[in-house]
Amino acid sequence: MSGLEDLYREIILDHYKSPRNQGRLESPPATLEEGFNPLCGDEITVSVLLEDEIVTDVKIDGQGCSISKSSASLMSAAVKGKSLRQIATIVRTFKSMMSIPEDEAIPFVGPDDPSNASDPPILSEAEMGELIALQGVVKFPVRIKCATLAWNTFSLALKKAQDAKIAPSEAP
């Protein structure tokens, strides 16, 4: 089971059994986004509270396998309290772990933003913290979709929150 040990490291099992930041935030002021994985029927709702360019709260609601639930939990812990710029780096780091092409733009970062450029910063292994547990997923290609569901849904929720803030006046 050596490959499996990689996939289901203790951190993953811990976040699966005791997921962080579960539930939904009141909307408004929070923004909600739903995500589906048609492959396995998993459904997720991510709530995001964006205040002054900081994600002050995030909550995850939904059903999923251990990879999808723990990835969501790990993500929520990693992004909570972080700025948009920091989160962009975290998302890039995750995508690079999943071998997702770097030219894929992050929705909540403007196309002209330097962090959406071709050679963006990513976290070093030392900076990753528990997120490093997700590294094993890439060896199991069919599970990458499980791991990415929460991240994609979160990115769209954040984009929505940002648009709602920008809408009244032009972005700074």
């Binding site: 490959g3 492959l39 396995c40 998993d42 999923g64 396998c65 251990s66 990879i67 999808s68 639930k69």
Partner: protein
């Protein structure tokens, strides 16, 4: 454990008598040990004779069908048409050489029927009756046509043990013109009482389309005895190749149906102002058909017949009986098995849930033990919602599976439970 039938001798019908694993190269050649294949409801494996028949065809006989007047083109045509007639006979079609339309798979056959006949028979005032346990292939084609024509769709509900609830059938059939029902469920294994449904549907003036994808590979099939009007099937679930399926429909319905795919072969004449369709069944076979696949499928039919569908069914019933009790004994409260408990009224398809372990995780851990099962919604999302689950794990058995495969499944599930405890 197994009670043998009295119609055949016990040596012919021990539970393992249909196992001919040595006929299937994959069990020796797959680069995985152990290899416990429990996903035949998704796609079966194929015996060497089928592979050889297709190889021989490509090596010695291939030419396009219905075109050339040279020798091998005629031979290829003869083989292709022989496959058609054989398949017609295999399912008891009254007019086997005219009533089988080859398609890409059962899904395409369903789409062909729904579009072909639905456009003739349905309008905004019509009603179609389906069931809650249909595969997406017998749901979405109707929904697509519904969006275009605006008819109503009703559904036969399920009982708690996963059978069709026919208590209000006559009411449900009131005003219905077409009924779509699977002969056997790909999730619950339930074998539906299609003959009874067809009888009552006909009394109500409705036609019945059967989805035979999960039934025909495992049971003796006779469309006349079933009393249905059309049936879709697929080759790769019954030891044949992928890329070929078929629609059977009574020939007068095929005559009535609109062409579905346009192109070569399906026409009798083409002018700049229009076309005249070919006669049935060619009217529905646009373009070069899957010829080698038809040759392979025919060989698979012969292989199945050489064993006997009755014997295959008996083997599966006994193996399912064994599996249901082994799973419950081995996993106790930790496992929930969906569908009817009586092996006689179901196919060898067992969907289950392990307590607090997602089917994706179950399937991944089973894979580590060499056990191949399917995890997911099995293209039956409405049914998943009925069962109150997002997904299930599903083990499905066929003639090459035996007790040892079931034992491997139970052992792997126990390991899986221990891993997540």
């Amino acid at each position: 454990m197994a009670q043998v039938s009295t119609t055949l001798t016990s040596s012919e019908l021990t539970p393992t008598s249909a196992i001919r694993r040595e006929d299937f190269p994959i069990f020796n050649e797959v680069e995985q040990k152990p290899f416990v294949y429990l996903d035949s409801a998704s796609s079966s494996q194929r015996p060497l004779v089928v592979l050889e028949a297709m190889d021989r065809y490509y090596r010695s006989t291939h030419a396009n069908v219905h075109r050339g007047v040279y020798r091998i083109a005629e031979e290829a045509t003869a083989l292709y048409e022989r496959a058609r007639t054989h398949l017609g006979n295999f399912i008891g079609a009254p007019d086997p050489s005219r009533e089988i339309v080859f398609t890409k798979n059962a899904t395409e056959a369903a789409n062909l029927f729904v579009q072909g006949l639905g456009r003739r028979r349905l309008d905004a005032t019509s009603t179609v009756l389906l069931t809650h346990l249909e595969h997406h292939a017998n749901l979405v084609p109707w929904m697509i046509l519904k969006e275009q024509l605006g008819f109503a769709i009703r559904y036969i509900p399920l009982t708690d043990d996963g059978r069709l609830d026919l208590s209000d059938l006559d009411q449900l059939l009131d005003g219905v013109s077409l009924v779509g029902v699977s002969l056997a469920s790909n999730v619950l294994g339930t074998i539906n009482p299609v003959a009874a449904i067809a009888e009552r549907a006909h009394l109500a003036g409705a036609l019945v389309f059967g989805d035979g994808a999960q039934f025909v590979p495992h049971n003796t099939t006779n469309v006349v005895e079933l009393g249905i009007d059309a049936l879709c099937i697929t080759g790769h679930k019954m030891l044949g190749p992928t890329g070929i399926g078929a629609l059977w429909a009574r020939h007068e319905l095929l005559e009535e149906m609109q062409p579905f795919l346009g192109g070569g072969e399906m026409i009798a004449d083409v002018r700049l102002d229009g076309f005249t369709p070919n006669v049935i069944p060619y009217k529905f076979e646009a373009g070069t058909p899957p010829i080698a696949e038809a040759v392979g499928w025919e060989c698979a039919l012969s292989y199945l017949e050489s064993i006997g569908m009755e014997k295959i069914r008996h083997h599966e019933v006994e193996l399912t009986r064994y599996a249901l009790s082994a799973l419950e004994e081995g996993l106790g409260d930790a496992i929930t098995i969906f569908g009817p408990r009586d092996p006689e009224s179901r196919g060898a398809v067992i969907s289950f849930e392990l307590k607090e372990i997602h089917p994706h995780d179950v399937s991944q851990l089973l894979d580590q033990e060499g056990v191949c099962v399917r995890a997911g919604h099995h293209c039956a999302k409405p049914l998943m919602r009925q069962l109150g689950v997002a997904a299930t794990a599903r083990a499905s058995l066929y003639l090459y599976n035996g007790h040892e495969d079931v034992d491997a499944l139970v052992g792997a599930l126990q390991k899986c439970q221990a891993f997540f405890r």
